[in-house]
């Protein structure tokens, strides 16, 4: 029983609940339920049943914590906790109607708690002593907190900067300025809340770049706030366009191009003295280093923070899946960024970013000469270290082994689907590898 299967199940459950809650078309709901059915089948293909538990801030599959899934499906975790659901037991051959009941409950379309059938709730509540307890990385908690801060903006339709600032402070207290941890965690993605997750990732990457550049804590803090809110214009305007498969229509594109203005105005309305940089970054993060891009600000060079966020923004976007294109590897992302050095991006900042990440940024999955797959955990300044996450026989290791990649020949880079490994899920393991010196 794989954590990846469990993640697929959680993703499908989240989608189905959303479709039902949104009173989507019959076809849309039907497709989502079919996907949930498929994911549930795969989840219980081996064992007789699968038990997903919610304890504290994390999902558990059996006794094992799914740290990364807890971050990736944060909103589902929150929803289940609100419904006081401690565990979901999926029995062999789960029926479509039982799964639909579960999705309806999660989507708040129904209040019926399934107690019998092939999907059962709260039957296998685990005691803490049953679990493999490991502390969630502080950054994960901060990540969830940041997501909540952005969701509040969307729910309330207005921005409370104090809450967002608290999220940034949590990040800083949790070690967000450490490039390796930040880059590993920033590999988390969520297809339903693209903007929220992207914003938090850009925040992490920007703060790491700020710290790497020698900023003081207060400066990193303001950069973090600016980065976390850089896309707030999308949060308050329209998330739907992002989920459309295929390229954007002209109308959608015109709408998207207005999000810097929307974001800047939203922040400006909420900001107090000393927080104005966030509005500037929201307005300028699509203005290129050479003054091009949008909106047309008369060719002026964007503010330093805007240029830093632009690099982090592009890096995260390129390495993330979008409905209209696949994700690229971190190394490919750097190459693409370099294409824009001096035109789209500030070459100095790009240089610092690459110096921070190294040629193969943390989160990269590398196939090395011996046939093993290595997750890069620490890179830059002449060092490259990681964890062997898949053996040369193709077996995913339960306990990844540290490796120094100096002198090791790298055959190729892999996408996480190819490697069968989720880079961010190894954040806690990577903590045990010697941190990047600065």
């Amino acid at each position: 029983m794989s954590e990846l299967f469990a993640k697929d199940f959680l993703r499908a459950l989240s989608h189905a609940a959303q479709r039902l809650a949104a009173s989507d078309s019959d076809v849309g709901v039907s497709d989502a339920l079919s996907a949930l059915e498929d994911a549930a089948e795969v989840l219980v293909a081996g064992p007789d049943e699968a038990v997903l538990s919610i304890v504290g801030d994390a999902f558990y599959l059996g006794r094992k914590m799914m740290a990364h899934a807890s971050t990736e499906f944060d909103s589902l975790l929150v929803a289940l906790k609100e419904l006081k659901i401690d565990s979901i037991t999926v029995l062999r051959s789960p029926t479509r109607s039982d799964l639909a009941d579960l999705a309806a409950l999660v989507g708040r379309v129904s209040d019926d708690l399934p107690v019998e059938g092939t999907v059962r709730l709260n039957e296998r509540a685990l005691r803490t002593s049953d679990l493999e307890i490991q502390p969630l990385h502080d950054l994960r908690r901060s990540y969830s907190f940041s997501l909540d801060a952005l969701r509040d903006v969307s729910r309330g339709g207005s921005l409370h900067l104090e809450g967002v600032m608290e999220a940034v402070d949590e990040f800083l207290d949790g070690g967000a300025a450490d490039p390796s941890s930040s880059m590993l965690l920033a590999t988390v993605q969520n297809h339903d809340e693209v903007t929220y997750y992207h914003s938090v990732n850009v925040c992490l990457l920007s703060m790491a770049l700020g710290r790497f550049s020698g900023f003081e804590r207060d400066q990193v803090r303001m950069l973090g706030l600016s980065a976390l809110l850089h896309d707030v214009g999308r949060v308050v305007v329209d998330e739907a366009a992002l989920r459309n498969p295929g390229r954007l229509s002209n109308e959608d594109w015109a709408q998207v191009r207005l999000h810097p203005q929307e974001g800047a105005a939203t922040i400006m309305a909420a900001s107090g003295h000393g927080q104005e940089a966030a509005a500037v970054v929201a307005l300028e993060h699509h203005v290129r280093f050479d003054g091009g891009g949008y909106p047309d600000l008369g060719g002026k060079t964007p503010h330093l923070f805007s240029r830093m966020v632009a690099v982090a923004d592009a890096y995260d976007a390129i390495t993330s899946f979008r409905p209209y294109r696949p994700a690229r590897t971190p190394n490919e992302a750097l190459r693409i960024l370099l294409e824009g050095a001096g035109t789209a991006y500030d070459p100095d900042l790009l240089r610092l970013f690459i110096q921070m990440t190294g040629e193969y940024p943390p989160g990269s999955l590398l196939l090395v000469d011996g046939g093993e797959v290595v997750l890069v955990t620490h890179a830059g300044e002449g060092t490259l270290r990681g964890l062997i996450v898949r053996s040369s026989e193709g077996e995913v290791l339960e306990e990844p082994e540290p490796i120094d990649l100096a002198g090791v020949t790298i055959q190729s880079q892999l996408m996480s689907e190819e490697a069968g490994v989720d880079p961010g899920s190894l954040l806690e393991s990577a903590e045990h590898v010697e941190p990047l010196e600065r």
Binding site: D231, E276, P295, L297, L304, I336, L350
Partner: protein
């Protein structure tokens, strides 16, 4: 989000790697591997780090950019509401410098599309309502009229002038009238026409205070309007007009002051004498001598004028006094002048 930014990742997908590009990438990667090679770059970046007190300027810059690019009326109105909120917050928190900067962000060197001028005008009018000007005026007084409030008052313009005039007229003004006139003067610094238009007010006390304020505003473009009321029927107005003209013209105002010595009102003439006494202009001594030589001022005024030049104590004064003191066959004012000059010279030698 760069995901839909053509420049970032969409247009560059599938790029072909030419040799030159590859070399550039390699060079960067190689420099990375050497480690620590980018101290200079880091310094350059840090040098660009904004000071914490630049935040306000950043915000204002962003607002002006937004005003420039926004062409949707409803969204433009929203920007105006944000602007109004910033000014209001600055006034209420008595951060007058910040309030003034926000106010000027919209008013000075306008960047917004021409078609929205009426919206801007409307919002400026609205801003002056709801007691904000009362809060502004009382706040500035309570804070001891700090100099940073002056630009804010200067930028507010006509609505503030109108409010302050209403305070002149009322029996129970919010603050001391001295402050009101001071603030009127500041309000006129941005565009003194807001004040000169008020010189046509039928109420003499309004015109008097406005004239005083114009003098404080220090805008010479107000002179024609002031001179037009120099012969106002009320002597109290004429006194203030004379003072304002003198303040605005400086040394060039001496002929106006000397001319005021012919005013039928003793108060105006007294004001003129005081102004001559305070004036550093070299034209004062010959001007005064010419006036007393004419013999058509009163004996008291003549004595005061002789005192005025005596106080200056320079060589030209002594020469002038000797000329006045040498007169023979003096009677009336001429005699009074001669006697005063002789006494002055006696005191001089001591």
């Amino acid at each position: 989000m760069a995901g839909t930014n053509g420049s970032a990742d969409v247009d560059t997908l599938g790029i072909e790697w030419h040799d030159e590009q590859l070399q550039r990438v390699r060079a960067v990667f190689e420099s990375v591997d050497t480690g620590g090679a980018d101290a200079v770059v880091r310094e350059r970046v840090l040098a660009e780090m904004p000071d914490s007190d630049e935040g306000l300027l950043l915000g204002i810059s962003a607002l002006r950019d937004l005003l420039r690019v926004e062409h949707r009326p409803e969204r433009f109105r929203r920007l105006l509401r944000i602007w109004s909120g910033k000014v209001t917050a600055g006034v209420r928190s008595r951060q007058f410098e910040a309030a003034g900067m926000w106010l000027r962000a919209l008013v000075e060197a306008p960047v917004f599309p021409e078609e929205f001028s009426h919206l801007v005008a409307g919002m400026r009018r609205d801003l002056a309502r709801d007691g904000l000007l009362e809060e502004l005026v009382t706040g500035v007084v309570e804070e001891g009229s700090p100099p940073e409030a002056a630009p804010l008052l200067a930028t507010w313009g006509e609505p503030l002038v109108e409010f302050l005039i209403s305070q002149i007229v009322t029996d129970h003004p919010l603050v001391n009238r001295r402050h009101i006139v001071d603030f009127l003067g500041m309000a006129g610094r941005g565009d003194v026409r807001h004040l000169t238009a008020r010189l046509a007010d039928p109420r003499w006390f309004v015109v008097r205070n406005v004239a005083t304020a114009i003098g404080k505003a220090g805008r010479a473009t107000a002179l024609p309007a002031l001179e037009a009321v120099a012969d106002h029927e009320d002597e109290r107005v004429r006194v203030e007009v004379l003072r304002a003209v003198s303040a605005l013209k400086g040394d060039d105002g001496t002929p106006d002051i000397l001319a005021a010595l012919d005013d039928p009102s003793p108060k105006v003439r007294q004001a003129a004498v005081s102004l001559l006494r305070a004036s550093p202009s070299e034209d004062v001594v010959p001007g005064v001598v010419a006036v007393v030589d004419r013999g058509d001022v009163s004996a008291d005024d003549a004595r005061r004028l002789v005192d005025v030049i005596t106080e200056r104590r320079d060589a030209s004064v002594r020469e002038a006094l000797e000329g006045l003191a040498d007169r023979r066959f003096a009677i009336g004012t001429t005699k009074a002048v001669r006697d005063q000059a002789r006494r002055a010279l006696e005191g001089w030698s001591e």
